[in-house]
């Protein structure tokens, strides 16, 4: 998917002016964060579980090569084909190759942010394989040819009426006058159409929330069951997972699951948590005959051991989006690519470069709520500042800001110069009555400086 992150300011302005989006973002505040508080209030061990989960991730990242190798070894024992992809090109070629070997005409897909990251849908379609998203939200945005606007609720920006219009346009074989005024009727229509697609698909592609080294198992969590139909019905199942998804044991996976859904949707656990280990066995009555896992790096190994390593603990729960004042003001599309919110503002520069993405780390008030709610306690504000520093140090920051900061620092380093100049400045501002309409943030100063008046003996 092509990034429009460069145009962040325009994207954000569009988001701010979109009434339907604003209504949806208003609902967001009343949904996930409220449910999150409710579910964690029922689990006294929640903070300890966060610490445990962080320790698991840290240990795994410190031994990432070893755990990846053990994962691969154990997955192969169960009959899995394990592929390694350095980048999106590698991954797309591998997946297309598997689809061709399977003689695939259609491919169903479970929700996978990594698959969005490598733009697999467009690539498969260009090569004659039809990809069909099956997560309801993903299906809707696929019909609309839009990127996800939220990493766990991809169609959160849309109203029911917009979805109804999309369905009427796309499902043109159905009665044009049918009633689609309720979310229930929309869901039923999508369910009926996608049920046929599930049964007809030749290949199913899913992501993975985790890979378990101990057993060579991939894990997905869903609420709809689409991931399971995607991976159970076709003859071939392809899992695509990035390298940092590996965890050591089933017990470690259990710890992470306890904080994942609670932080994401505010559920104790998602409806379906599915552990897949290899293809259909001799006495199995159903399931895929071929099971492939594509392990993707795509720049992540370069974060390891560096100042952005903490980001590799991210479990893509979206708590940081759900609590971010900036995300809730502009919505996910303003970020211009696959990942949005604070996690996107840290990850996108790592994957796309600062030239394209420098607005994202800057467009934050650094309020710190993201770090508070991140189950993995990723220091997102610090990581955002680190990107700002890189941008500033490589000369990227705009001239106005640079000159302003330099002038301020020049004066502030020289109190003897700063004091008289600031006295003039505040007097002028006072005469003007403050910043006025243009800078409402600047009130009319009271007049005089505290330090000067204190020195003169005022108390």
């Amino acid at each position: 998917m092509r990034s429009t992150t460069r145009n962040f300011v325009d994207n954000a302005a569009r988001g701010l002016a979109d009434d339907k989006l604003q209504a949806a973002l208003g609902r967001l505040s009343q949904g996930f964060p409220v449910k999150r508080l409710e579910t964690i209030s029922r689990l006294p061990e929640f903070e300890q579980l966060r610490d445990d989960a962080i320790a698991i991730k840290r240990h795994t990242l410190e031994n990432l090569d070893s755990y990846l190798e053990r994962y691969e070894e154990n997955a192969k024992v169960s009959g899995a084909h394990v592929h390694w992809a350095r980048d999106g090109d590698d991954a797309r070629e591998i997946i297309l190759g598997i689809c061709r070997d399977a003689g695939a005409k259609t491919v169903t897909k479970g929700k996978s942010m990594v698959s969005e990251e490598i733009g697999i849908n467009e690539f498969l379609a260009d090569n004659g394989v039809e990809p069909i998203e099956t997560d309801l939200g993903e299906y809707i945005i696929q019909l609309r040819d839009e990127p996800p606007s939220h990493i766990i609720a991809p169609a959160i920006h849309l109203s029911g009426a917009q979805v109804a219009d999309t369905f009427k346009e796309s499902h043109d074989e159905l009665d044009a006058d049918r009633d689609l005024s309720e979310p229930r009727t929309l869901l039923e229509e999508a369910r009926a159409i996608l049920r046929k697609k599930f049964l007809a698909a030749d290949v199913g592609i899913t992501g993975a929330n985790m890979l378990i080294a101990e057993t060579g198992t991939s894990v997905i969590v869903t609420n709809e069951g689409n991931g399971d139909l995607t991976q159970t019905l076709p003859k071939t199942h392809i899992v695509i997972a990035s390298i940092e998804k590996v965890v050591p044991t089933l017990e470690d996976a259990a710890t992470i699951l306890r904080i994942l859904a609670r932080s994401a949707t505010g559920q104790d656990i998602t409806v379906y948590t599915t552990y897949s280990t290899g293809p259909k066995r001799a006495d199995d009555l159903d399931g895929p005959e071929n099971y492939h896992v594509v392990i993707l790096d795509n720049g992540r190994s370069s974060l390891l051991g560096g100042e952005f390593e903490d980001m590799l603990r991210c479990i893509k729960c979206a708590a940081c989006l759900n609590h971010c004042p900036v995300y809730k003001a502009i919505g996910g599309h303003a970020y211009g690519w696959v990942y949005s919110g604070p996690m996107g503002a840290v990850l996108a520069p790592a994957l796309l470069g600062l030239g394209e993405t420098h607005h994202l780390p800057s467009a934050s008030s650094l309020c710190g709520r993201c770090q508070d709610v991140c189950p993995m306690r990723i220091p997102l504000p610090r990581l955002l500042r680190q990107w700002r520093r890189r941008w500033f140090e490589t000369g990227g920051e705009d001239t106005k800001t640079r000159l302003g900061l330099a002038a301020w620092a020049f004066l502030a380093k020289r109190p003897a110069l700063y004091r008289p100049l600031m006295a003039i400045g505040t007097s002028v501002l006072k005469l003007c009555g403050g910043g006025g309409r243009r800078f409402p943030i600047l009130p009319r100063p009271e007049g005089g400086s505290f330090v000067d008046q204190w020195k003169r003996g005022k108390r």
Partner: protein, 223 residues
């Protein structure tokens, strides 16, 4: 592909400042020990009423639950449940020995065995375990438990012996290791907590997104 593998692993090792390609013994020790991290005290304590908590949590996840005392009561319970939801008295059942035993003498229900092809409306399966912590069912793929039954039929009825209710996720893994051996997994393990749902349209929560619209759990006291 070989090249990609070695390149990625080399990049990882160089980022970690690792010169040695040997896998440290601490890694294999951790995999062997599969130690338990923090678990919720509510369900792990000796005096925890796991059955009561399982029921409470499964209901919170919108499953419906009833309890029967003996295997021979299953057919009657299923019949009454199907009647209550206006379904025909026909089930697609897993070929599980416990289900066979329960249904051996019944004549009311039309029972066929095997995986689902999407035409069946009601599935009847038997769970490997129930996890009290979140009211979660554990189903393991195999000849006695086809995975399609868990997802294709509109109504999912699952039989769970009360003796198979454990406290925590870790307890469920321990039970599975006891059955299958350490490090061995069924092809698919499904954890199921309530019926399928989606809130993707206007954040309105609706049941029955792609999987079952209803999940009915029948707890069996004596098995």
């Amino acid at each position: 592909m070989k090249a990609a593998r070695s390149e990625i692993l080399a990049n990882v090792r160089s980022a970690l400042n690792k010169k040695d390609i040997e896998i440290p013994s601490a890694v294999d020790e951790r995999l062997r020990a599969h130690a338990i991290n923090t678990v919720p005290a509510r369900v792990s304590g000796a005096d925890a009423d796991r059955i009561a908590i399982f029921i409470e949590e499964a209901e919170r996840a919108s499953a419906t639950i009833e309890r029967i005392k003996a295997p021979k009561e299953l057919a009657g319970a299923v019949t009454a449940y199907l009647k209550s939801i206006d379904e025909e008295q026909a089930v697609r059942a897993a070929g599980h020995p416990l289900l066979k035993e329960c249904l051996a003498e019944q004549t009311i229900l039309e029972v066929t065995e095997g995986p689902s092809d999407g035409t069946d409306t009601v599935a009847l399966t038997a769970a490997f375990a129930g996890i009290a912590e979140t009211g979660t069912l554990v189903l393991c793929a195999g000849s006695e438990s086809p995975t399609t039954l868990n997802f294709l039929p509109d109504t999912n009825i699952v039989l769970l012996p009360e003796v198979s209710i454990v406290g925590t996720y870790e307890d469920a893994w321990a039970a599975l290791r006891q059955t299958m051996g350490s490090g061995v997994m069924p092809r698919t393990v499904n954890w199921i907590t309530g019926p399928s749902r989606s809130a993707d349209i206007e954040q309105t929560l609706l049941m029955g997104a792609h999987g079952p619209r209803r999940l009915h759990i029948i707890l069996l006291a004596d098995s």
